[in-house]
């Protein structure tokens, strides 16, 4: 649904994007993660047609950015990280204004307004002035605005930033609903734990390049370094000696029969080590890979410079 190739963008002397490649499959909820200044917002703004790239190509639903700007606007719904509202409009009028700006008028616009307000749970606030809404409500209203023309692709830049935990949960539920409706969602966020719960695919960006992408499960299990916890029955000196001498191992801590270490390589390496431990007669009671969170994976990749390949 979204295909980006060698995308480049420079602001003065700062190169925000250095040849970004990205593929977002249709119907995916694609979590776009990276540090501040990594190029997430720039990418989203280019995909929304708000910025012109200096090089490379980007396609959304088969429409090349820059060549089909009007068709692109019909396909894409965009929600920026920071946005304002017109304080002199009521909630319903706000949506009708954007509906008219998308060429939707008459009874269809009224129906869309009511349906969307129901979806984002703001039906009761229809007659309230927009500036009287809380931050969370304004975020939801902005999401409804992005959906007013029924886009196939949603570009959401930090939709949960500045929200309290309850509002975040509400936002997440709405996004799940939208995912069920078949929308392709590209969502950038710093709150990685929430993305892990929501996303089907993940892309990691650092310094203007996408360094990892793929289905979430694949990404979490396919990291080159894994953390393993080993427990033995009785003293673990022999086990620790063997593990510490094993190639690609970095012992993190060893305490009362439990050794926590990092092992470079995939599950084959781990199986080899376990086999050797058993052959040497180490009474292994527990040998398991620590469940990797998205946060761990990202931090690990960032630390190891694995984000460079």
């Amino acid at each position: 649904m979204i295909k980006v190739r060698s995308l480049k963008k420079t602001y003065g002397r700062v190169q925000a994007l250095k040849g970004l490649d990205m593929d977002v499959p249709a119907g995916a909820v694609y979590g776009f993660i990276g540090q501040n200044g990594a190029g997430k917002t720039t990418t989203l703004r280019i995909l929304a047609g708000l910025l012109v790239p200096d090089g490379g190509t980007a396609e959304v639903a088969g429409l090349e950015i820059g060549r089909h700007p009007r068709a692109l606007r019909e396909v894409v719904g965009y929600m920026p990280d920071f946005f304002g509202v017109y304080d002199d409009l009521r909630v319903g009028e706000y949506l009708l204004f954007y509906a008219a700006a998308y060429g939707i008028r008459g009874p269809r616009a009224f129906k869309l307004r009511d349906d969307l307000l129901e979806l984002v749970e703001l039906g009761e606030k229809r007659e309230a002035f927009v500036d009287t809404l809380s931050r969370g409500m304004q975020q939801r209203l902005c999401l409804a605005r992005a959906l007013i023309h029924d886009p196939r692709v949603l570009l959401l830049d930090e939709p949960a930033s500045g929200l309290d935990p309850l509002a975040r949960v509400e936002m997440r539920e709405i996004l799940k609903e939208l995912s069920k409706l078949g929308k392709t969602i590209l969502i950038s966020s710093h709150i990685l734990s929430e993305l892990a719960d929501l996303c089907t695919h993940i892309g990691m960006i650092t310094e203007g390049r996408l360094v990892r992408q793929g289905p979430l499960a694949e990404l979490l299990n396919g990291t080159p370094v894994q953390t393993i916890i080993l427990r033995c029955h009785g003293p673990a000196e022999a086990a620790e000696k063997l593990v510490a001498g094993w190639p690609g191992v970095e012992v993190l801590r060893s305490l009362s029969g439990q050794i926590e270490f990092r092992l470079a390589g995939g599950s084959a390496q781990a199986a080899e080590l376990l086999k050797e431990l058993v052959l040497r007669g180490v009474p292994v009671t527990h040998f398991a890979q620590e469940e990797q969170s998205l946060e761990d994976t990202f931090v690990q990749l960032a630390r190891e410079g694995g984000l460079d390949d």
């Binding site: 703004r45 929304a48 047609g49 708000l50 910025l51 012109v52 200096d54 090089g55 820059g66 009007r70 606007r73 019909e74 894409v76 965009y78 920026p80 920071f82 946005f83 304002g84 509202v85 017109y86 002199d88 409009l89 009028e93 204004f97 954007y98 008219a100 700006a101 998308y102 060429g103 902005c142 605005r145 023309h149």
Partner: protein
Amino acid sequence: MTEEVREEQKGQEQEKEAAGQRKEGGAKQRPQEKRFFLRDCWEGLRCGLAPMLGKEMRGRTRGWRSPVLLSVYLGVLGTFVLLFLWLNLERLSMIRPQVGLSLYSLFIFSLIMLISFIAPAVAAGAISGERERRTYDLLLVTKASIPGIVLGKWLASVVYLMFLAVAALPVFAVVFLYGGVPPAILGLAFVVCLAAGLGYGAMGLALSALTQRSQAAMIISLVLVFFFIFGIPVITGIIMASNPPGPSPQPLGQPGAAIAGPPWYVFLSPLTAFTSVLPGTGEYDRNWGIPLISELMNMLLNRMVQPEMVAYAYKMGYTTGYVFPGYPGGVAAKPAGLAAWAPWARFTLYQGILIPVCLAAAILAVAPRKPWPFHRAGKK
């Protein structure tokens, strides 16, 4: 010939065929694309203009602010009229024939000044305000085209001012109690007001798009408007005083006699348009108002007072010593071309040029993709 070369040639032929097909297809699709282009342009304009105007008007006329503002505005104007009438009728215990004309002059001067300064000040926040409020990106991702957004913003910023001008019409009607002002002249005065509001509004909008901050746009636009209104006539006056025109080839009143007209740029100032819509600025009392402006207007434009107005004033017996000389040399020396245009028409023409220039500048400033090639070259 090797296999590789053959394959390469085959590939090239296939590419040529495909290119030919694309070309044919392109030629066939061209009229359709053109139709779509026009349809898209119209749709983009409609999506920008109508919602923007609706939103602005709704916002401005909402709540207690609008009726209070309108009441205060009309109340001040009404009080001013009553005070003026009281001073003229009660204090002098007689009706001076020029009361209507003087009142009308004051009204029109105030109205044009008001509109000339408020229109750019309001428009100066139109686009930069959207940027500051962070609603700008949300507009650009809609189907509204950039010309549609800019036009919508421009009209929205001046339409309320025009509403205020129209609301003041009943107050203006007081001048008809005394006569002396033909309705056509009053209509011309409103045309000048409209031209000033739309032109300076467009200028404010262009500055709003070009500068990032509303405050900067407002200050620059007000300085520019001040320069247009007062600076240009003053500079013209100084230039003309220091470089007086050469003697007429024939004595005045003789065929072939001519007086050099004011330079073209002086008509950029709405003050010059006053000579069309006012019964001679400063004619009745040269010490009234701003002497410099009155003197300057008389000096620059004493030959270009609307003949219709003067004839009417003569007919009504209002002219007091100001003799309109007519064209020296008779019809033969009548100015031709643009110089023959009445001041209000020349001012309106210049404003008509200023508007598209400013709107185009605003559109180019707002558009993410600039059309000029060096922008793209620079990007590469």
